[in-house]
């Protein structure tokens, strides 16, 4: 599903050039549940942006579903984001003044094909157990419910890949566990889930952990191991 080969990325601020990604290489196969774990400031955001096709790498190649997106234009990357990737964020990023239903339909705006939004959104909300909250505004929902709305939104275009960025970081233990359960179910349904986190307890829910520090993948070079069940014995969510 994901193939990152020697990805590099640096930022220039004034005359200071900071190398953020210093040759990142790893693979994630279809249907895998992988956590990328690293401390704050290790370059996780930048990596997420590259993986999520929000930014292009300066060097190396990035293949998603077999297609190289390292040097594509905004339109191609936007279309691929819409079709292939569902994002789940730490801060949910729901539109405050839109109901759960409208939030869930938002990605359909940018989809290549026109789809019947309401029916799909209702199914997506049902999948995360929020049918009864579809007309609520985000401010009327608990954190866990908001994140489930966000997951429904990520699923509405039926993408093969879910990129979750500290998705449980703002949730209590119970809600966090619910969200991780949903991810596990998505993996069972054949989707690929990549969790980005600094939290070992969260990362332990994944099948495989890629350690990330100082702009490099550490501890797991190309990640070609199979499902590593030993990491699943760890404690439940944060």
């Amino acid at each position: 599903m994901i193939e990152a080969i020697n990805i590099s990325k640096s930022y220039r601020r004034g005359n200071v050039v900071t190398d953020v990604l210093k040759g990142v290489s790893f693979r994630v196969r279809k249907g895998e549940f992988v956590a990328i774990m690293g401390p704050s400031g290790s370059g996780k955001s930048t990596l997420l942006n590259v993986l999520g096709l929000l930014d292009s790498p300066d060097g190396g190649s990035y293949l998603l579903d077999g297609v190289d997106y390292s040097e594509t234009d905004d339109e191609t990357r936007s279309a691929a984001r819409s079709r292939l990737i569902g994002f789940v964020f730490q801060q949910f990023h729901l539109l405050d003044r839109a109901t759960a239903l409208r939030n869930v339909t938002l990605p359909l705006l940018y989809a290549e094909v026109s789809r019947d939004g309401t029916a799909r959104a209702e199914r997506a909300l049902e999948a995360v157990g929020l049918t009864h909250r579809k007309h609520y505004l985000p401010s009327e929902l608990s954190g866990g419910e908001q994140q489930r709305v966000a997951i429904a939104r990520a699923l509405i275009n039926d993408p093969p890949l879910i990129l979750a960025d500290e998705a449980t970081g703002n949730l209590d233990a119970t809600s966090g566990a619910e969200v991780l359960d949903i991810f596990r179910n998505l993996v069972r349904g054949g989707r690929t889930v990549v969790l980005i986190t600094h939290d070992k307890n969260v990362a332990d829910h994944a099948d495989r952990i890629l350690g990330f520090s100082d702009g490099r993948i550490a501890g797991n070079d190309l990640g070609m191991r199979g499902r590593d069940t030993s990491t699943r014995t760890a404690a439940p969510g944060p």
Partner: protein
């Protein structure tokens, strides 16, 4: 639905969900458009009123009369009246700039008309084809004398309303042949009824108009004229044009310095000139004010949009993550500003027209509601929406989704 339609609908839904913000952004444009619409409606009304005055009083015409200034109250006197000729008129036409049509006028009272058993005596005018337009004397039936009639010395006539009624009580004058001093003339047209002149001295419906060539060579047998009338389209030019005509005629008539003129150049009364100047200045001022108001309204939109974009950077990042292209974001914000400006335009046009009609009803202004103020109001608000929406839209499109989505401080 196409992608653009979906985005447009989403913008609309978002605006409805943020009515208060949309309302505030709209106000500035509404105020500007309201003033602009009202100014144009009142400008139109005033312009029409002025045009009416110009036509009724023939304020855009210079008249050259035969005879010096002393004779103007005695136009029938013989002395000096043979001085004005057709070549004078042609010279004015050829040499004076800033003028419209020119017509010679030869006039004679006591001309006898006969049609079957009816008869009338009236005043005849021999004129050029431009006469009807210069004097704002349209025909109500048939048509006016043409250049061809003048060239061919045609025996054709246009009747004043009163003459037509005297000879043709049935109203079927056009095409009939009447006798003018015993010669047959075909009736070409009938003038629209005018009524008495302002000073009531002459019945303008009691006349017969024929081609100048016919009057000078067939009917009256004299070359000299009573008047030359000259249209001056731009009223501001009248004094200067009059002066140029004086200079030209003095030279043509070889009148030396200190000698009395054998003609008199009469300019229109300057009464309405002043009446027109005042509103013109006022409108220029009000139009300027409304444009300033529109620009201010546009700046309000732009600044509120820029603030909103800073506040909504996460939303922008999110939309990008969900598949929006940079161009979709830019379209979203441009549509937002255009929608707001259009809403402001609707409110502004309605308020502006209401104000114009209110002032009219109160007798404080003359206004005229046409498509013009409405069209200008909408065009202005569209322009404001686009001009002041482009920069925020561009800025929104350039927001880096990467930096906005991962606010570390939760």
């Amino acid at each position: 639905m196409s992608r653009s339609q979906r985005i447009a609908r989403d913008v609309f839904t978002s605006l409805l969900a943020n009515k208060q913000r949309a309302f505030l952004m709209m106000l500035g444009v509404a105020a500007g458009v309201a003033v602009l619409t009202a100014v144009i409606a009142i400008g139109q009304g005033t312009r029409e009123r002025v045009m009416e005055l110009v036509q009724v009083h023939n304020l855009d015409m210079i008249m050259v009369r035969a005879g010096g200034e002393v004779q103007i109250f005695a136009p029938q006197a013989d002395r000096g009246l043979a001085a004005l000729t057709e070549p004078d008129a042609r010279a004015i036409e050829a040499e004076i700039s800033d003028i419209g049509k020119v017509s010679v006028v030869q006039a004679q009272r006591g001309i006898n008309l006969v049609y079957q058993d009816r008869s009338a005596a009236t005043r005849v005018f021999g004129v050029d084809s431009g006469f009807s337009e210069i004097r704002y004397r349209p025909v109500s039936q048939g048509e006016f004398i043409t250049d061809a009639d003048v060239v061919s010395m045609a025996r054709v006539a246009v009747l004043g309303d009163k003459v037509a009624k005297a000879l043709f009580p049935e109203g079927d004058a056009v095409g009939k042949v009447i006798r003018v001093e015993n010669d047959p003339y075909t009736v070409k047209g009938v003038f629209r009824e005018i009524g008495q002149t302002a000073n009531g001295e002459e019945d303008q419906d009691d006349r017969l108009v024929i081609p100048f060539s016919t009057s000078s060579r067939r009917l009256l047998n004299r070359p000299y004229l009573e008047q030359i009338i000259i249209n001056v389209p731009d009223l501001d030019n009248i004094p200067e044009v009059a002066e140029r005509i004086r200079t030209l005629l003095k030279s043509r008539h070889a009148i030396g310095a200190g000698e009395a003129d054998d003609f008199f150049v009469r300019e229109p009364d300057d009464v309405v000139d002043a009446a027109m100047q005042t509103p013109a200045t006022l409108f220029a001022l009000m139009a300027a004010v409304s444009i300033v108001a529109l620009i201010a309204g546009g700046l309000v939109i732009m600044n509120l949009m820029l603030i909103a974009i800073a506040q909504r950077s996460k939303e922008i990042g999110l939309r990008r993550a969900l598949g929006a292209r940079a161009s979709d974001i830019s379209r979203q914000f441009l549509l937002e500003s255009v929608f707001i400006a259009l809403a402001g335009g609707v409110v502004g046009v309605v308020l502006g027209l209401a104000a114009a009609m209110g002032l009219d009803a109160a007798g404080l202004a003359v206004s005229r509601i046409t498509w013009l103020p409405i069209a200008v109001g909408f065009l202005a608000c569209m322009a404001v929406g686009i001009v002041f929406g482009v920069q925020p839209a561009r800025k929104a499109a350039h927001i880096d989704p990467a930096t906005t989505l991962r606010g570390r401080a939760a």
